[in-house]
Amino acid sequence: MKASWPRPSALIPYLWLAIFFALPFLLVFRLSLSDSALSIPPYAPQIDWSGGLAGFRRFLAGLDFDTYGRLVSDHLYIKAYISSLSFAAQGTLFALLIGYPMAYGMARCRPQTRNLLLMLVILPFWTSFLIRVYAWVGILKPEGLLNAGLGLLGLPNIDLLYTPAAVQIGLVYSYLPFMVLPLYAVLEKQDHTLLEAAADLGSPPWKSFWQVTFPLSIPGVVAGCLLCFIPMVGEFVIPDLLGGPGSLMIGRSIWMEFFANRDWPFASAVAVALLIMLVPPIVLYQRQQVRALEAGR
């Protein structure tokens, strides 16, 4: 079949996405090449349409990579990128360690119980993200519930709020459902006769798990990890509410650069760099989704 023009009904969402999704990105990219300035627009250089092609060439010549130079030379930003990646990697790992046994346990339950538990995993996703993160403030703050509990047990208090540990707890807590759901989807479909066969052949349960169940669940592990990792890297709310000045994350840097320092070109450069960093995991995830879709057909 020859490729045709999109039909009018497809053209409407197409145009919408072009205007409100693609065009804004071009604007971010263009602004990131402008001169850093501590003010609001207009930013130099401007496109001079009256000058025709020559005006456009002047505009191109005016663009530079100054903001990116600053980004690379400023240790604070490099540190923020690295610490975002490490927060996200650790958070994903912990989510996997907690989420895998949960998904496994759910897949082992009777069908009715399974559906109820599935709903319980999805339900937090429908309640406000902000609210769920905020709930941890009351638990972790110095005069909060955790320390009250520790006090009752006669243990010394720990100050977790505004530390990297608090950010880590918030990340794992918020993204756990994203880990459990794809894992459950894979584990639930698994053929139990395989385990019976392994048991008949004399394999102890733990060995069967590592040699049969786990390898078969790898697509779910990959999907869950990427679904957690990608949004964790750019997270803003969690480091802002639970983390202190020591918990650098890049989403928060963009926010600060934009709202506090009002340096829009630099904020744009930080955003473009974040996006470039996220391209490999996003491509990996999309490719995996396509593969899963084709396998399911």
Partner: protein, 267 residues
């Protein structure tokens, strides 16, 4: 091989769900606590709910959020459904790869970047930031979710029904309206619900794209939360959680009733 739950399964499930639900449960309990302190139980009280309804800032923000949510969810549902139909039914067309990329990208895009880029667009277009810009931004943010939900339904829906309708003389638009749409309606409604809750919940994109007079509830909650735990906010949160719980329970009861009542299996 027995399919029961072992002790290990039970422990991991209990611990996991306790981790997921304890903080939410605590918020609900705190909202009824007469004391301001989270560690002291000052007796059962609804005083925070009372003061909440007299807090005009919060009520105003809730009203803004509700309007933005209703309009943007509806727009996103229309656009997202059209996109899903185009992706599953229109075969190849010019720029399809770009289109499908743009349809899914908002799902994985960091919100900070979406907010920043949309703000730059509104500044470039010289549109004053306010209710309109937040609504446009939320429509763009949430339509991808509608597309995914509707598309997964379309993928399992028998195409021959549409083809039969067209063979019998329906125009493609008519066939869609009277055959396809009734069949994918549950997914369309689920998409709307999802878009609506995402819009109610969004802080980051709204902060970038809203202006004076269009402060949404999450923005108001956020600015108060930054100052510490506040019992009034606990009450707002409890109301929101309650609304969602009631909605989800009704939804699941309705779908159970539907499958029990109509024996004819949905295609």
């Amino acid at each position: 091989m027995k399919r029961g739950a072992s002790v290990f399964n039970l422990v991991s499930l209990t611990a996991g769900f306790a981790f997921l639900y304890l903080p939410i449960l605590l918020l609900v309990i705190w909202s009824f606590n007469a004391s301001r302190l989270v560690t002291v139980w000052g007796g059962f009280s609804t005083r925070w709910y009372g003061s909440l309804f007299h807090n005009e800032q919060l009520m105003g923000a809730a009203w803004v959020t509700l309007r933005v949510g209703l309009v943007s969810a509806t727009l996103a549902t229309v656009l997202g459904t059209l996109a899903a139909v185009a992706l599953t039914r229109h075969g190849r067309f010019l720029g399809r790869t770009l289109f499908s990329g743009m349809s899914y990208a908002p799902l994985v895009m960091p919100e900070v970047i979406m907010g920043l880029s949309l703000l730059l667009l509104f500044v470039a277009l010289k549109v004053d930031r306010g209710l309109l810009t937040v609504t446009l931004a939320h429509t763009t943010l949430t339509m991808a979710y509608v597309t995914v939900v509707v598309q997964s339904r379309l993928a399992t829906f028998d195409r021959s029904l549409e083809e039969a309708a067209q063979d019998l003389g329906c125009t493609p638009a008519r066939a869609f309206w009277s055959v396809t749409l009734p069949n994918i309606l549950p997914a369309v409604l689920a998409g709307w619900m999802l878009a609506f809750t995402l819009s109610l919940d969004d802080l980051v994109v709204a902060s970038f794209t809203s202006g004076p007079g269009a402060t949404t509830l999450p923005m108001r909650i956020y600015s108060q939360v930054r100052l510490g735990v506040s019992p009034e906010i606990n009450a707002v949160c409890t109301l929101l959680i309650g609304a969602v719980a009631v909605g989800v329970i009704c939804w699941s009861l309705a779908s159970k009733w539907r499958t029990a009542a109509g024996r004819q299996p949905p295609a």
